[in-house]
Symmetry: D2
Subunit: 447 residues, 4 copies
């Protein structure tokens, strides 16, 4: 939810976006269209399957993001709007208790209807109504700006989820099909990693959390002070080559490196490498969205759980950074608080990324410290409310706050995070056993 | 597997089918085409979903039946045949240990690829190769006749499974979609049930099991003698109206009517009516392949487990018939040992049934005792080998024998059983808790 | 339940046991005392533990058998009887739905109270009241004879269960403690097995089921005719040495030997030998009630499931006998319909057996075909009602009938079956995966 | 593990405890004896049962604490010591991977042997050897002081666990037996709660963590600075009466009050009140260690999970305190950093508490703010390492560090926490769904 301090989403939207009606309409169609671009290589069968409870079918993502606009924008603000299908509220509500009952999450893959074609019609109908609502300069457009902004960021989150999920769907298939072939983009090449260093920070009282007028989710607020001890953080990500050394050294067989809960999972699920690594006769392959290929030791380690990241850091004689440590250093390294959509494709996925190799974390280009655009980075911080945190009033208040236990914070952004959806204050979060996000790590130490 | 006594399938086929090459080729295409007719109303999404471990996706049925011909006929007997895709042996083997490892059954719904289009191509390629193999009068055609015969009956079994399975897929969907609308066929109307009677049998030594030259599965042999006590069996099926009386009388709440295992399931799964009955404000609806509609008290009770059938019989002061009792009476009631494809549509599903209301068990026409063509009928007999039973040698020997424990025999045939696939000696079997087959019952008593 | 044909338990008891009051009183105390003898080596801790849902704690067995007399004899027939503790009806009812709700079976091991001492008092109080009721020649004694008879056979069944269960409790303990040390009884030695033969039977119509006036359970009735084909059955049991050959030949790794359900369990539970066999560096040990010791190749194979027995028979080119085949041959081999308590200890457990090695199946003495007294013998017969079977009216009618599905029949009796509790018509039954009973097999073939 | 900064446990022990040999020997016997006092009312059966995976049998607690001294003190430091039974290392190791494999936790209740008597002998033998080791003024006594100190605090933790666990064992028994009757201690009476207030704190940089020379666990170090915002915290605990208001207002039915994970458990486990509350016809009973009795609205709410505590705080318009907030205020309210054993019984369990009503949290005496001695108090803080935290080297380093994820911190101490085992810096921790500890809460708000 967009909020800064005590200003509500609606108020802020009115203030900050006045006159932006047309821009918003353009952005609405651009973001919505990008979801369709992502779905385009997928057959109706691909879009239907759910391979584990965490995964949702592609067609569900496409419908759920549409339901979000229908429910929170069109239904309350568009006079005379009639819902596309009354049954959809039950089928496509994800977790909003306030809005009503819903279809059980682990059963999303049991539904063949509505099919891909019907969901395409649903998207079209809602986009048409939204287009009429978002006429620049009108009162109604001004009233909904904050909610539309939220809906677009919500849709961008689901664009990344869609890619995470379809990667899992294709990877469990013994045929190992590709989502789309990669082309290496012209003119980008990996730099030597020799320049990686420790970035020192002297500690003290620092400010973290969202600042300024731009959009943010409610969990990034309020901006507040934190007291840090001196520490250092790496200028580079842990690589696949580093991870091979960890495996070779018996990292997955040495219990003293692991949290107790993590060790239990290592044994129960027989983890011996990151998710999507495939042991081959002559080394390791890695399953990408372009199918399996040999591992590049310079690419960032990816698809590791927090348990693995924490064990790796302990093995390396280091630790994970706290989220505040990550944030204050990231700002000093030249990352603007808002990583704008105009930033180069390395900082997020867009059409160029789709055409290039943007669907897999690449080795760093010379000078790129990969704070954004490669992998989400696990921190040592459990996900909780900032001091003074207040969720939004109403159903959208369920967006973030009710997940603030049993999760760990990740910072940065991944190659599959849509361009324009990253911020230094952004707080992503997953349970410590999750491996299917594009998650890796960078190391820190006490000083 | 076709076998009588010690004659093997291949030998028998050579004997009984010589010169039938062309007929077989015609029948091959008719049966294979009917599978496609059944799949035609289903979208790619419909064909992909698996809603419980017992259910297989439609596209899996279409591929598996094709794999059967490819593996057991084309690979060994068609010179120079190259398999369509080497990965398919792993994906589409159902349970043949002898043939090799296979994809886990409960995970069939996790596979989006190969998709419906590719499976269509697979069917086409195999049908083309089979067509070339089955040239009348050739040696090779004669050699494979028995196996093709088996493959066609196998495919007919899967036609029924396909309908059972898609019924479940559509029924768990909160939208309750229809597979296809029913039209009542002209000229058929339900007869008064007043003429139903007890058919008496004096007991004694009787012969059961397959007789004659036609095709049968190995589990119907050898024909052998059984000693029966005097008994009587009903000339009609238990109806939905009868079942309503059982419900109203508290049948689902009275433990003494139930086997101990059955009562445990009644409580754990909160059974209170047959599968696909839906409690509505003003009575019961029933989910059909044409969607939900009110129950007709004259239609046969259907989708009841053996536990329910057994409890109902006890409540009624009767019992289920033994399979030998069912068979000897069925023969005396004018049912030929082989219910030929030319029999009226009431005895099995064909194109006419699809066009009419053949996808749901109808109230009986005047004089129809419904031994075939309405519902499978549970018997009191556990499924086991006949005295002297020998399974076929080789992989096809796994067809029936290895399931001969923990199952109960059903006799007759259902509205969704393909025409020409029924016999008085036919032994169907399911675990006692299964409800998704089209299964009902007729009553018996001791005399 | 005692019954022959249409004569009820109460009627028969009146007829057959008149004047036996004192004998019954003596037998009551002897049977009840033997339960206490069996419990004597067990500490309160031993008597409390439940190691799997099938196992009940010793103190539960002691209380449940007492509750049986209290509920079915004292409460209805002993004027002015007050139950020992009203809560016990809930705690110690096993499965009698008619009598009321009860504590869940898998949770019996969660109850520390009532303790062993209190259950001793409970047994004493009920025994005292029963002693007063069973005064010879009184009307009340005559009225309850049939039920007391049933209660004593019920208690004998639980004596065997108690031993089966405590064997499991001690065996899962890494310390492998002994229940009691064995002493080999003087004068018994194993005979050479060379004399084992096929016993031929020409088939035809035979009579099976309980005959005569003595006690039997309802499931042994009515006596009826069965038509058999010619067959032969072995004069000896399958031995541990035979089983070693099966293991060595890969019996546990060859799927075609197994029923499909059995093969799934072999893989899921990683079966590679009978229950209680322990792989040691230099061969196999076997866990007995006297602790682990090396296997004797001449001892009967024991603690094999029906799945294993069936697979073994297939491997040996034979089959399991049907229960009727077993019964008719057993009678011809000199086993009386009732194996009386006065028979030698080889046919059942008594004080002599406890003092000797009666707690483990021994190699056969010369000339002993081991129909009784060694191991229960799996048959090919699913457990079902005999033609014309009628369970008793009332709660005791739940004794046998409601288990007549999903189980296989065993015949004979084991070393831990109490003396006087065996009959040629006795039908024991367990699910096909059960291994903790003392169960083995003898082979049969078609002729 | 005892540690301050970089001083190791052994070093510190040498420094701080020189010449305390005899005192330590006295304390050793006092603590060890108190465990036996706690076990005294329990039968062998009571001491054997395990009612859920979190619960351990009493006899296991008694053996495991003994194994701790044997493994970490006697084996390495007592010349010529021979272990009591080599099998015990496997049976009574709780979770020390470094020490070797161990019996699975959820199966502790499957072990009847060793029995209570044998474990008593084990305790005696180890106590005898420890007594000889701990001769005042000897080198060997000095060397082990730190480890013995750790072992005694470890045993005190298990004293509390023993009571938590046996409470669960007795409570699931339908007979609802009492552990021991309570007597109200003379001269203590509940004070009016009217004086409860908000204790204000202005925030700023504060120091938290263990200070000084006394014993602490490694997770309380290093002492470090934290920046707090202004806040207020209640001077009293939430009471059972407060909780009744929450229930009555529908607190267990309103999803917006709950974390998403918590709401899932509320529904799955049908929570409607704290653990051990029993709905009676005329209100609520509460299961205590003296059996069930009506709720006293003035007693502290107890046996609530973190999910419930968090939901209650939200309902009340407040929040839970952070652990640093709790600690700094607790110190200012007159609680010494170490709550010494000489403190009044209200701050911990000892013989007086056993004789009185010390086994259940009492309403506060006048002026008692109940920071200690009533219930553990949930905080908003996830359990993690303090900045600069280093676990001890070796097996005892597994004591705390490997549990630092998926848990929430509790502060204070409960009525069942042994006297002398509480500190303002003490960090207890449990998963957010745990209810069987004696856990309650006090409220906080932002200022």
């Amino acid at each position: 939810m967009p909020t800064t301090g005590t200003t509500s989403a609606t108020e802020r939207a009115t203030t900050t976006s006045a006159g932006d009606g047309d821009d918003l309409r353009v952005r609405y169609h651009r973001v919505r269209g990008f979801t369709e671009d992502l779905s385009e290589p997928l057959s109706p069968e691909d879009q239907t399957v759910q391979t584990m409870p965490d995964v949702s079918p592609t067609k569900w993502h496409r419908a759920h993001t549409t339901w979000f606009f229908e429910t929170f924008v069109l239904a309350p603000y568009r006079r005379g709007y009639t819902e596309f299908d009354p049954a959809y509220a039950f089928l496509f509500n994800s977790y909003y208790e306030t809005v009503g009952p819903r279809h059980a999450r682990p059963q999303r893959g049991l539904l063949s209807r509505p099919g891909v074609a019907e969901i395409g019609q649903y998207r079209g109908a809602v986009d048409h109504a939204m287009d009429q609502l978002l006429v620049a300069g009108t009162d109604q457009a001004a009233r909904v700006t904050g909610l539309v902004e939220l809906g677009l960021h919500h849709e961008q989150q689901h664009q990344e989820l869609l890619l995470m999920d379809i990667k899992h769907v294709l990877a469990v298939n013994p045929l190992h099909p590709a989502y789309r072939p990669f082309e290496r983009p012209p003119g980008i090449e990996a730099g030597p990693n020799g320049g990686a260093t420790w970035i020192e920070h002297g500690g003290g009282v620092v400010s973290v959390g969202h600042a300024g007028d731009g959009f943010c989710f409610d969990n990034e607020t309020p901006r507040h002070e934190v007291l840090l001890s001196p520490f250092a953080i790496r200028s580079n990500l842990v690589t696949a080559g580093d991870w091979l050394a960890f495996i070779t050294d018996g990292g997955y067989r040495e219990p003293t490196l692991w949290m107790s809960d993590g060790w239990a999972i290592v044994q129960a699920q027989e983890w011996e490498a990151p998710e999507y690594w495939i042991r081959a006769d002559d080394g390791w392959l890695i399953q990408t969205l372009a199918g399996p290929r040999p591992i590049d030791p310079d690419e960032p380690a990816c698809h590791v759980s927090w348990y693995e990241a924490d064990a790796f850091a302990r093995w390396a004689g280091c630790r994970l950074p706290a989220e505040a440590e990550w944030e204050v250093v990231a700002v000093t390294r030249g990352n603007p608080p808002l990583v704008a959509p105009e930033a180069p494709s390395a900082t997020g996925l867009d059409d160029a990324g789709l055409a290039g190799s943007g669907l897999h974390p690449a080795p760093p280009a010379p000078g790129d410290e990969q704070w954004f655009g490669a992998v989400w980075q696990w921190t040592s911080s459990p996900y909780g409310p900032y001091p003074g945190f207040q969720p939004e009033v109403g159903a959208v208040g369920e967006y973030n706050g009710k997940f603030m236990v049993n999760q760990q914070v990740l910072r940065g952004g991944a190659c599959v995070t849509p361009a324009g959806h990253s911020r230094t204050s952004y707080r992503n979060f997953f349970p410590p056993a999750a491996r299917w996000p594009f998650c890796g790590l960078r190391l820190a130490v006490d000083r």
